[in-house]
């Protein structure tokens, strides 16, 4: 039996900075998880994954990550994606510093 599809965001790292980014509903890359487009439909998610993966001059390592709809936009469901969305826990570096 096929596994039930869970909602996903398209995520990657930028080519130059390596910063974590997400594909938004305008097909642009955003550095905020909450601004990501959340795909409930598997076919659409795969289509947007292919769209993102084709932009290899801008981003690298494009993949689908589990997420869930939150009050202010999509939020990660796995701790790895939570860390990617925030930054390391030992210093105020990365996104948490830039978005403060």
């Amino acid at each position: 039996m096929a596994r039930q599809f869970t909602p996903k965001v398209v995520t990657a790292n930028t080519l130059i900075e390596g910063d974590v980014v997400y594909l938004d509903s305008q097909n642009a890359w955003t550095s905020h998880h909450a601004e990501a487009a959340l795909f409930d439909d598997e076919e659409l998610a795969n289509d947007r994954l292919a769209f993102g993966a084709a932009q290899s001059e801008t981003v690298v390592g494009v993949y689908l990550a589990d997420a869930t709809a939150g009050e202010n936009g999509p939020t990660p469901t796995h701790f790895r994606e939570e860390f990617r969305a925030v930054g390391p826990s030992n210093y105020n570096h990365g996104k948490q510093a830039e978005q403060a």
Binding site: L15, G18, S56, T77, F83, N90
Partner: protein, 556 residues
């Protein structure tokens, strides 16, 4: 220290220039990521969770003050003002921009440093005893052999596409400070019964998914046979090693599956072919390299200042008793600078701290610094009269923590705070354990205890050889930490035994506290270390401490 000749200089510069062009082609879209990735990895550049990471080799852990200052400069100019010293005597920068990396490599080349072969399926940075040249128990300075192996392995055409990475370490003492038996190949300088110096060759050690203790392939190899013999081992591994499964591709599996005797026979066969092709140049080169590692020119000075400070200043005394090791010259000491201040990230030094350590090395330690696999920095040759001054200056920049070899001197890999391979975080667990034992004010009573933490099964944090090992895993989407007991990375190397079910993130620090406090009740004298007590009593009483509910259940 080894000094680059024209050949070394030209090689490093050409590699850097090549990489600059490769980055340009990638950014311009003329190289795909699939084409570019192996090229960047050959130059030590990884893409991690939040950013790129540049891993810079510190061959056999040796730096001079100019090099350390340059590492600080690079941290300030192109990173976030700090660097992370690793268990393989490398330094990692966690935030470089891809387009800055060629400039960083140029800046490294300016001080005879590089990031070559710090990644990829090649022979990696050759590591050594961080007390080399200073330890009273060494036969000779092992770094000359390490440098010979570094030169031989750099860009060696036969070994750029091995089945998997290959790690070499070199030691020259009975006491193993370089975790020799956890390496793909280790060279130990030894003497035979006739008093001749040669090499013991150990192969097939390694941690990771399938931890193995290295096995002695040759108990005494004559000096002149070293390079042809090591090359023969690599050729046999390159030919025989598995390429169908990356988890079975390291030489430890090749040795395990084929047997040590079979490997030895194949190596001997290859050696018979290779040895005649070595015409003695390697031995001339080794002799030349040795001249770059002379014994320091020792000074004679009174020890009064040291003795007075030791008697009157309890903070200094504690640092001396904990962080100093005996030097081959009795008026000197080997001073280990702890990069493990309670609550800080193990192995991270700020650029300011790097500059202070560089100054101290230049003024007081014959311009030498060492990086240990335990993620600390060493001033290898310090006249004891200078120790009070050194301690005072370290204290000013948060580097005077007296905890070497104690419970808070924890090895921790970067874990899921940085690493793309990690399955859980390591750093905050190390920070919390160190902070907790500092609050308890018990670590000097607890004594020698090595805790080592890895954030995934690849074991960069050496957890298998920790007296207490902690392995962070992802269990159904939640961080979970397994404890191993009784591991040992010394000459008596042993792989730790898994204690039982893992602990959640908020349970692991209390579990370690329970375990260590429980050991205090189990030891028969204050001198019996955790590891000794474990070896005397076995795992059972320690498991009972870790899992009290199981004990209750069994009793019911």
């Amino acid at each position: 220290m080894y000094k680059y000749n024209d050949f070394d200089e030209a090689f490093i510069r050409s590699r850097t220039a090549q990489f600059r062009k490769q980055v340009e082609r990638r950014v311009a879209g003329n190289l795909t990521e699939d084409e570019f990735k192996p090229l960047r990895l050959m130059n030590g550049l990884y893409l991690q969770l939040h950013a790129y990471m540049l891993r810079v080799a510190i061959p056999y852990g040796t730096l001079n003050s100019g090099q350390m200052r340059q590492l600080a400069f690079i941290a300030d100019k192109w990173d976030k003002g700090y660097g992370h010293f690793t268990t393989r005597q490398n330094i990692q920068y966690n935030w470089p921009k891809l387009t800055d990396v060629p400039d960083m490599l140029d800046a490294l080349a300016d001080v005879e440093m590089h990031a070559n072969q710090t990644s990829g399926n090649t022979i990696r940075n050759v590591t050594s005893d961080h007390f080399a040249g200073a330890a009273p128990d060494e036969i000779e300075d092992p770094r000359a052999v390490a440098e010979l192996l570094r030169q031989w392995s750099t860009d060696h055409p036969e070994f750029q596409f091995l089945g998997r990475k290959f790690k070499i370490a070199v030691g020259a003492s009975d006491q193993d400070r370089a975790v020799l038996k956890a390496h793909d190949l280790a060279v130990r300088v030894v003497k035979n019964d006739a008093g001749e110096t040669g090499y013991e060759i150990i192969i097939g050690g390694g941690l990771g998914r399938t931890p193995m203790i290295g096995k002695v392939l040759q108990d005494f190899l004559p000096r002149e046979d070293l390079l042809p013999y090591v090359e023969s081992v690599l050729t046999v591994y390159n030919t025989l090693g598995r390429r169908d499964n990356k988890y079975k591709a390291r030489i430890k599996i090749t040795v395990h599956e084929n047997g040590l005797d079979e490997i030895r026979a194949l190596v001997e066969e290859q050696f018979a072919l290779l040895q005649p092709t070595f015409n003695g140049f390697d031995q001339e080169l080794l002799e030349e390299i040795k001249t770059y590692f002379p014994a320091p020119s020792y000074i004679n000075a009174p020890l009064d200042a040291y003795e007075v400070a030791y008697k009157n200043d309890p903070v200094f005394r504690s640092w001396v008793d904990t962080n100093l090791s005996a030097h081959k010259n009795e008026n000197y000491a080997i001073a280990t600078i702890s990069i493990k201040k309670h609550g800080d990230t193990p192995g991270d030094a700020s650029s300011e701290q790097m500059r202070v350590m560089a100054d101290l090395a230049e003024e007081f330690s014959h311009d030498e610094l060492r990086i240990s696999h335990e993620q600390n920095v060493i001033l290898p040759h310090v006249h004891k009269s200078h120790l009070p001054m050194i301690h005072a200056r370290l204290h000013q920049v948060g580097l005077a923590t007296a905890n070497i070899g104690l419970v808070s001197d924890i090895i921790a890999c970067p874990g899921m705070d940085y690493c793309a391979l990690a399955t859980a975080r390591s750093i905050p667990v190390a920070q919390k354990i160190a902070t907790r034992f500092d609050e308890l004010k018990l670590e000097h009573d607890i004594g020698a205890l090595k805790i080592k933490i890895s954030g995934c099964i690849n074991a960069c944090g050496h957890h298998h050889v920790g007296h207490i090992g902690i392995l962070g895993l992802d269990r159904a989407g939640v961080e979970n930490y397994q404890i191993t007991l009784g591991g040992d990375g010394s000459e008596n190397a042993a792989i730790g035994e898994r204690a039982g079910p893992g602990f959640a993130y908020d349970e692991i620090v209390p579990a370690i506290e329970r375990l260590v406090l429980g050991y205090l009740d189990l030891r028969n004298t204050p001198e019996e270390t955790f590891l000794d007590a474990y070896r005397r009593l076995g795992a059972a009483p320690f498991k009972a401490i870790l899992y009290p509910e199981a004990k209750t259940r069994n009793a019911a």
